[in-house]
């Protein structure tokens, strides 16, 4: 459990019945805020993080000492301008940055949950986070925004709480995880559980860590966040600090070295069991399931103004899957705008300095705020 003093925590008293049937209460949600809530309380934006993100959206992350994951988009004078808007972000339940998750103690046994933590869903994550609105006394958010799994939470939030936001920006996401998405996540989970140090999920009590498995999971996933073209341009067949091939299994190529590095830094900041839980939640995500396959029904009660964004080189959540959401919204006459942003940076584009993307979000929010 991360007990860093820089983590703000809300203990949710209200009980939450999870999709798996179990009920949790008195559980912590770790959150961070940026900017100030105005008097009318109409300038709040709830940001949802992706699989390996956390509540530290921008500025220096006090735990990892790195820049926040959405520093390009969120901050003073940026697209989500913290001089103007009050930005709230919380760690999802199941996560490992302070919110209730598998590294917490089970109140019944006083032992670390491990894989005894209940399996959670995107719906559970969103229902837990909605408690932050009460905490801050906000009736209606100005916007909800997020990319990838964050975008899935945006969709789920609007579906669950149709009256609680004026606008919604789901980015580079899908309304249901595809077979390919599930397959890739399963690969990561298998890498973790195949590590002998995983110890059936009890590695924390045995003072060890399935770092090798988690690193492999991260490496595999990292490839899916980039495009073939982006990888080729950045690395090509360049060799890593050597003149020629070594005829060994060392990292001869820069791309190998890069991936190994990505894996190694990831294990320092992420918990293996959380990785299992969160990827599972993504795999279980299928917003139309409750509505007999009719996605439009999921949004029927909302008047929120949607702005959906995809990226040309994103093959993990390709444009067509984003467009399917647009189509579902159009078929019920919802207010929905859509743009596909040109970028070679793959799925990761939503986290990077892609000027057309940043300006689109900025303009959408500015104009919507003026008209609200």
């Amino acid at each position: 459990m991360n007990t860093n003093k820089n983590i703000k925590t809300l203990i949710v008293k209200k009980s939450l019945r999870l999709d798996c049937g179990k009920t949790i209460n008195n559980y912590p949600i770790a959150y961070e805020t940026y900017g100030a809530l105005n008097e009318k309380k109409d300038n709040a934006i709830l940001v949802f993080h992706a699989l390996t993100g956390d509540q530290f959206v921008t500025g220096k992350n006090p735990v990892t000492k790195k820049d926040g994951w959405w520093s390009y988009l969120v901050g003073p004078d940026k697209a989500i301008d913290t001089n103007k808007y009050f930005v709230i972000c919380s760690n999802v339940i199941g996560g490992c940055m302070g919110s209730y998750g598998p590294s917490h103690n089970d109140p019944n046994t006083q032992e670390v949950f491990g894989i005894n933590f209940p399996v959670i869903t995107i719906n559970d994550m969103v229902n837990a986070q909605e408690n932050l609105l009460d905490h801050f006394g906000i009736d209606k958010l100005f916007s909800v925004a997020g990319g990838s799994m964050g975008g899935m939470q945006v969709l789920q939030f609007v579906s669950n709480f149709p009256e609680k936001t004026k606008t919604a920006i789901p980015i580079a996401c899908t309304s249901s995880h595809s077979a390919q998405n599930i397959a890739l996540n399963e690969l990561g989970r298998q890498a973790i559980t195949a590590d002998s140090n995983w110890k059936e999920g009890n590695y924390l009590s045995k003072d060890t860590n399935p770092n090798k498995g988690l690193a492999v999971a991260r490496m595999a996933a990292h490839i899916t966040y980039l495009s073939k073209k982006g990888l080729q341009e950045k690395f090509g067949r360049k060799l890593q600090e050597r003149e020629d091939l070594k005829f060994s299994f060392d990292a001869d190529f820069q791309i190998e070295s890069y991936l190994r590095y990505q894996g190694s830094v990831f294990v320092d900041r992420f918990d293996a069991n959380s990785y299992l839980y969160i990827t599972r939640a993504m795999d279980y995500f299928d917003l139309s399931r409750k509505f007999k396959g009719n996605l439009s029904e999921a949004f029927k009660k909302t008047k929120a103004k949607f702005f959906i964004i995809s990226f040309t080189s994103d093959w993990l959540y390709p444009t067509q899957e984003n467009k399917d959401i647009v189509i579902a919204l159009n078929s019920i006459g919802a207010d929905v705008g859509f743009v596909e942003i040109e970028s070679d940076k793959g799925h990761d584009s939503f986290l990077l300095d892609v000027p057309d993307f940043l300006s689109a979000v900025k303009n959408f929010l500015e104009k919507s705020y003026l008209n609200s």
């Binding site: 647009v326 078929s331 705008g337 859509f338 743009v339 596909e340 057309d356 689109a360």
Partner: protein, 198 residues
């Protein structure tokens, strides 16, 4: 503000639902939103132009009219606008049918290939006509299916589309087109504007 847009705006009643197909940078959408209080959406194929619309606070979907009108339910809009784009589609008939499916009424404007300047250019120079409304060369024009006002009127009749209003535009002058002056208007008008229904 183009004269054409003023004419289109006059055809639209207040507080209606409108879709602008091929909305470009959103000039017409913005004008209609501000002056007619309509609930307006745009469909635009160019990413740059979609960005311009977003910067104006307009709700626009990036997409292609030939493929992406399918997503709208029947009669989702009171009016669907198609300004000077019909001739650029691979299948204009399909697009017209789609416009009239998603819209109760459609407003279609066409650059008139029967305009005297166009005829004169071809007759005297023997090269593809270049005019204010047809500014491109034969090799870089997006236009695939040019027609005249007369062609369009004949086409709507053959498909049993109802024409509520047909207007001819020549520079600043706007006039009604009717059965008796069709040949005349077809010769002297730069642009035809039609309010149609299926």
């Amino acid at each position: 503000m183009k004269n054409e847009f003023k004419v289109i705006a006059d055809l639209i009643e207040k507080d209606k639902r409108v879709l602008d197909v091929g909305c470009s940078d959103g000039t017409l959408m913005k004008f209609l939103k501000d002056n007619k209080n309509v609930n307006i959406r745009g469909l635009e194929i160019s990413k740059d132009k979609v960005q311009k619309c977003i910067a104006k606070g307009l709700t626009v979907i990036e997409g292609n009219a030939e493929k992406d009108l399918v997503q709208f339910p029947n009669k989702a809009f009171d009016y669907v606008i198609l300004s000077q784009t019909l001739q650029a589609f691979l299948d204009p008939e399909l697009v017209l049918n789609e416009l009239l499916r998603v819209g109760k009424k459609a407003i279609v404007t066409i650059p008139n290939f029967g305009y005297w300047k166009v005829r004169f250019h071809l007759l005297t120079k023997g090269t593809m006509p270049i005019t204010k409304t047809l500014p491109d060369m034969w090799y870089n024009t997006p236009n695939l299916h040019m027609c005249t006002i007369k062609d369009f009127v004949h086409f709507t009749r053959s498909r049993n589309f109802k024409i509520f209003k047909s207007l001819a535009l020549n520079n600043d002058s706007i006039s009604l087109i009717n059965k008796s002056n069709l040949g005349f208007k077809n010769f002297f008008s730069d642009l035809g504007i039609f309010l149609i229904e299926k």
